[in-house]
Symmetry: C2
Subunit: 343 residues, 2 copies
Amino acid sequence: MTIKGKATSLDIAHLAGVSQPTVSRALRGSPMVNEETRKRIQAIAEQLNYKVDKNASNLRTQHSGTIALLFFEDPTPDDSQINPFFLSMLGSITRACAMRGYDLLISFQQLSTDWQADYEDSNKADGLILLGYGDYLESQSRLERLVEQGTHFVRWGAVLPGQPGISIGCDNFQGGHDITQHLLHQGRRNIAFLGHASNHYPEFFERYRGYAHALLTSGQRVQPGLQFDAITTEQSGYEAACELLKRGTPFDAIFAASDLIAIGAMKALHERSMRVPEEVAVAGFDDIPMAGFVNPSLSTVQQDTKLAGTILVETLLALVNNEPAQSRTIPVTLALRRSSGAA
Amino acid sequence: MTIKGKATSLDIAHLAGVSQPTVSRALRGSPMVNEETRKRIQAIAEQLNYKVDKNASNLRTQHSGTIALLFFEDPTPDDSQINPFFLSMLGSITRACAMRGYDLLISFQQLSTDWQADYEDSNKADGLILLGYGDYLESQSRLERLVEQGTHFVRWGAVLPGQPGISIGCDNFQGGHDITQHLLHQGRRNIAFLGHASNHYPEFFERYRGYAHALLTSGQRVQPGLQFDAITTEQSGYEAACELLKRGTPFDAIFAASDLIAIGAMKALHERSMRVPEEVAVAGFDDIPMAGFVNPSLSTVQQDTKLAGTILVETLLALVNNEPAQSRTIPVTLALRRSSGAA
DNA sequence: CTGAAAGCGCTTACAG
DNA sequence: CTGAAAGCGCTTACAG
């Protein structure tokens, strides 16, 4: 028997001598269907390679079994690599979705464009995961709009009071504190901070506050002249380090707000033949795969991307199912290597 | 005016004082609708934040505007990182899809499980992109089954005659040839090959054949004792290099079938305090982001992932639209760095 | 240029 | 345990 095009539940019903709803029930494992009938139907379905049409079932049930992952990128002039940290988040989010039987739709969004909750609005997804650095204040009004519209979403980022919606993030303050304390323990006293330190970049700002806190509790001063703005790219880190060197303020360590910044900074130091860690200790944040491979290997703050992915998905699904859900902070650990003189 | 739940085209029709089909036409830009009517409808739609229900429109039109990307992974015991090369393919595929107005569904598949063309069968996707290393012969029967079922798919991999379906791949033979020739030009004579060299791994095998061809045309012998199996992980590269060292056959260069293998091999050399490139020149394949950061920086064969992603998507969409499409090979270039003594 | 009608392939009360 | 009926929200001939 050949059926032109794809088999439908009606085709199977004919073949099995039952009604179409019975096929639907049987295949979805309803307890209200005779076991023998079910087996017969299942056999036919398999033979015809039948698969439920998701468009039809989603239309009927009004949910999609799909989550949309939206990456926000600062537009890079060269269309360069995606931030490696987000790529490892992507891996763990994908696995967490698979575990819960959800499909994952992914999409890159330009921060600048007028993105919307299109995926959920058009019923392609039951909820959204928002991932990406960028100017927080710029996106805040959009987050508020998502909340207003009742869109289900979680975002990865700083967890702060008064934010619209639910956020999952690592403990940026603690991470900044711990790595700075480590640099202090290594005998460093003039520690520069490379990265934005304002409420436009709340994650970096938290890391900066942790850094400042560690300095103060160990009796050091926070030197404003040792902070230089940078976004999370190698290029930006390189430029910030050049500024730092040009300024002439003495320093014996750099805490970069991300590994990419740290790697760019190390390049600038290397060009001037400054030795790491002997002359300048360097530390980053994220523990991207590259961190262990650069020379010298980079001491950094490790974010547990696997746990993060799981929690993002679990929290979003709770939201989708109208279960209680809340913002959460994930603990960080130090990954100490040679760039700080630790290994 | 408040509408409970999401607005539908019928809601808009009521508000605009037209029929529901007219709303549909207006919003889809049909030329058969009065310009003023269209504007009125569009204004209302925007105000209500209306989005066409994709489940309904897809059901009706029988296509999804979505492509599914299936990653095949050899199961790793530690749930470790995804192959970085595939991650950069992912980036370019995502962008290429966005450019054509398609959404991208991604999914990791265990090679071992009985994966199917579920996404297309269930109408969630119009076609599939298959990405991943693994034993080719094991997957071949599945590819044949996809062809039989009339599933639209393209795979990334070796382009060889007699393969089921359409394949896009880089010129593995040329890449293997060029990098080997480069090592020969550096004065190396005993060049080991780390990577599987059998038709179970056609991409690696092509690279191996390029390597052998370069040796032969320059008057060298191919020494079977200098080939060691490895899959594309750091661990596997490390182990293969250990075997090579244990064997005791003299060698002054390594061509690894992938960058991850090369990085693992360099680790093994490093542990024995063998200097790269002075004692052993090393080259890889792929040009993953890490290649430029390892120490010494890794000479390798660069695959143009951006072009690859574009071609994969273009080819698949041609297939979906019943336009002519064919397998293609993409040229490679050498990225020469310090590990081969080139920079 | 516009509307009434049909139908995409399911799921789920409702009735038996 | 099973079937007849309705309906999810669209798009597209068909008729005017």
